[in-house]
Amino acid sequence: MKIRPIVLLLLLAAAPAGAQQASVTHVTHLLARATYGVRPADVAVVQRSGIAPWLEEQLHPERIADDVVTTRLRQFTTLDLSIPELAERFPTGKQARDTSMAANPRRILIELVAAKLLRASQSNRQLEEVMTDFWFNHFNVFWAKGPLRYMVADYEQRAIRPYVFGSFYDMLKATAQHPAMLVYLDNATSNARRGINENYARELLELHTLGVDGGYTQKDVQEVARAFTGWTVQRRDGVRFVFAPRLHDDGAKVVLGHALPAGRGRADGEAVLRILARHPATAHHIARQLIERFVTDEPPADYINEIADVFLKTDGDLRAVTRALFTSPRFYNAPYINTKVKTPFELVASALRVTDSDLRAPGTLLQTLRSLGELPYTEQAPTGFPASSADWVNSGAMLARINFGIAFAQRSGDRQLSMTLGAPAFQMK
């Protein structure tokens, strides 16, 4: 009785002793970080194919068949509705009182999270999934802020996912022009006549691009805010980005030492995005964040420089950047292996993935994610969810993790499984 869980642990960690140990260790480490859970069968597959070819395949998700997931996603009918359609079918406020539970906007969130869990646990395009999660979190928006509940699915599908292996500038621009971001960080209401709103400008510099130590000043924040006046949302025939010249501050501006001549209208904002996307501070900030999320809680300077160089040399080609992140010899440094704690979402997704479980009762899993502190799409602060282990380990959280393992195993009627999922080893990646 005491041996079984240990054997299971070994299987799940897929680190048996033997001649090929080094390679198994590396493959397992890669899968632990670049997918939502290490399955023994996958380890064998990647061992046969080699790390580089597997990574190359994952970097081109359009080449990977994913029919099962595509079919299963059809059950979530809200995912295909446009922003105005969602707003009409799931009204809030006064109109909502007359509608049934079937029209409760919460259903949108349940389907969003369920779809994310389904993709994370079953998609063959694993790297696309983890990178979509990373970049959504990098450009975080908050589902519960006003009309964002109708916009977040569209935001992920149109502003984030298409660019995770594309150009950073394109993703930056897509987020800057998406109604979800324009409303979330209030740029939609920034107004040259009544007064600028600094919210988007500050988070653009601090979180999306340069980083808090990226060398910008309060004056830069104000100049960037002026440049983006007029970037707003129009709500007639669809909900979409529009440049409103009457809201724009048409005077000359200086951003990070670059002069923006007067009278250029919408081109101001695009010029700012271009300056930021190519800035060395941005490259370092992105490199640091990638390493913190996927490699170690304490990103070392040489690794940051290595990835930042690729970012700068390729003008922010995120496929090249991601490839460099996972092929660098630094990624496979022994002290990094098995030392990061899974975030709550990773814990839940990996339990589904390694046990090959169908997604039943997603409402219960939503509750679990909420109580563990990481219900996707609901982080209010623009910083997004934290990536470092220290943020996810505390005494209360350990109980919640253990209880998740017990509840999850109960559904499958397998008592031993709870000892596996609740064990220390399963909390790590």
């Binding site: 920034s190 007064g195 919210n199 500050r202 924040v221 505390n394 005494s395 209360g396």
Partner: protein
């Protein structure tokens, strides 16, 4: 000696003597004989930067009305509803903070205005980090000021790791009665899924999402305890250890048996629930010295409103929650201090969206039976253009660490303030006198 072996053998010895260990545990933890009741600090963090100028309105400063055309709160009048509630002829509480107005008039609530950080950052996460580490400008401080207070106020725990700290808890339980004024695992608690930076560090501290759920499901505690005992000394092992320790204590003290005092109604939602559970923990005498509760939704860049509206709704929840906690704790408030904080203030002038952007100095509340209340403390720097920080924000006249230091010393008994506030010369002359 292995701690668990020690605890177990101790319990066996007691059984041999015919003493029920549970009885012993309860008497040690719940009602330490002759010991003074625990002093407790409850911190409320308003994450997102509350607009302190509309929370405590400087209606006596003409510039306030010049710069806030659509969101200002009117000066107090005898008749009009929706006006500020007068505090001292110059400042007034936002009308939705009515529940706190009584406490001010009973001299049990003090306001500190123009308090903040010497660091200029207007970044939420950076400023929150600096406030919680209490080392503004120093990003590498890993532990929080409240955790360092815990280390300083229990000499036996100081400088030990979490695992060692638990061994010390075992000492408490194993008969060193003089020390047994509380259980180690519950000295510092945060209500929520995450432990805030302020409570992180070497001393054990606990995050509790929901007291009713705090336990291992299906009676499986022993199974998992064995599993995690093998991880002793690791981050996960230590965290689990603290959880098992706390579970044992909570099982015996059963805080859920304490219902809110009659007539007390906490506001619906996470904040009210968190406060009601803090009250249950304090009433059950499990040794809580520091409790930490978050309330968010203060980042009002857009349409924040004045006497009514978005900010007013947040303040209503804050005011009702704090008052419910105060009334629920009743006599206990003689030993409790409630302190509010927020990472920075907001711009004096409203922006083009009917909101306010990130600013500088802010405002704090301190409430409790021992508080020198009924006063608005600190110097008012003024809101005229030339008086503003960087030409736009309320200037700081009280370093937030001076407030923290006074409370750490006078409420919690911290002595080595240079260790609790590294790099900061604590000076009693600068303290605002919120506590006797």
């Amino acid at each position: 000696m292995n701690r668990r072996a020690f605890v177990r053998s101790g319990a066996l010895a007691l059984l041999a003597l015919g003493t029920p260990p549970e009885f012993l545990t309860r008497s040690l933890l719940a009602n330490p004989q002759g010991a003074a009741r625990k002093k407790t600090l409850i911190c409320i963090f308003q994450r997102g930067a509350v607009d302190g100028l509309n929370m405590v309105v400087p209606f006596g400063d003409a510039a306030y009305y010049e710069k806030r055309r659509s969101i200002a709160v009117a000066a107090p009048t005898r008749s009009a509803a929706g006006a500020a509630l007068d505090l001292n002829g110059f400042f007034g509480l936002h009308p939705e903070l009515q529940p706190l107005h009584d406490l001010f008039r009973r001299n049990e609530l003090a306001v500190i205005h123009a308090v903040g950080s010497p660091h200029p950052t207007r970044s939420h996460f950076e400023a929150q980090d600096f406030m919680e580490s209490a080392t503004p400008g120093e990003k590498t401080t890993r532990d929080g000021w409240l955790n360092r207070v815990l280390g300083d106020t229990c000499a036996q725990c100081s400088g030990r790791s979490l695992a060692d700290g638990s061994a010390h808890a075992a000492d408490h339980l194993a008969g060193q009665v003089a020390m047994a004024s509380g259980a180690l695992a519950l000295r510092g608690i945060a209500m929520g899924a995450e432990l805030p930076h302020a409570l992180r560090g070497r001393q054990p501290a606990l995050a509790i999402s929901d007291l009713a759920q705090f336990g291992v499901a299906g009676g499986r505690q022993a199974d998992f305890q064995k599993l995690y005992d093998r991880e002793a000394g690791t981050v996960l092992g230590s965290a689990a250890d603290g959880a098992f320790e706390a579970m044992r204590i909570l099982k015996s003290a059963n805080p859920l048996q304490y219902r809110p005092a009659s007539g007390v109604q906490y506001p619906a939602g996470q904040f009210g629930r968190a406060l009601s559970q803090v009250a249950q923990l304090i009433k059950s005498g499990v040794g809580v010295e520091i409790a930490f509760v978050d309330i968010d939704g203060w980042d009002t860049h857009q349409a924040q409103g004045g006497a009514q509206g978005r900010l007013a709704a947040r303040l209503r929840e804050l005011g009702r929650g704090m008052r419910a906690l105060y009334d629920d704790l009743g006599d206990h408030m003689a030993d409790v201090v409630v302190l509010t904080m927020s990472e920075f203030g907001r711009t004096v002038a409203e922006n083009g969206s009917g909101g306010t952007d990130h600013g500088h100095a802010n405002c704090m509340f301190v409430a409790g039976g021992g508080v020198q209340g009924g006063k608005v403390l600190g110097e008012w720097p003024g809101l005229a253009a030339e008086q503003l920080y960087e030409g736009r924000d309320l200037a700081v006249t009280t370093d937030f660490r001076d407030v923290f230091a006074e409370i750490a010393a006078r409420q919690l008994g911290a002595r080595n303030l240079e260790k609790v506030f590294p790099g900061f010369a604590a000076d009693r002359a600068r303290w605002r006198g919120v506590l006797a």
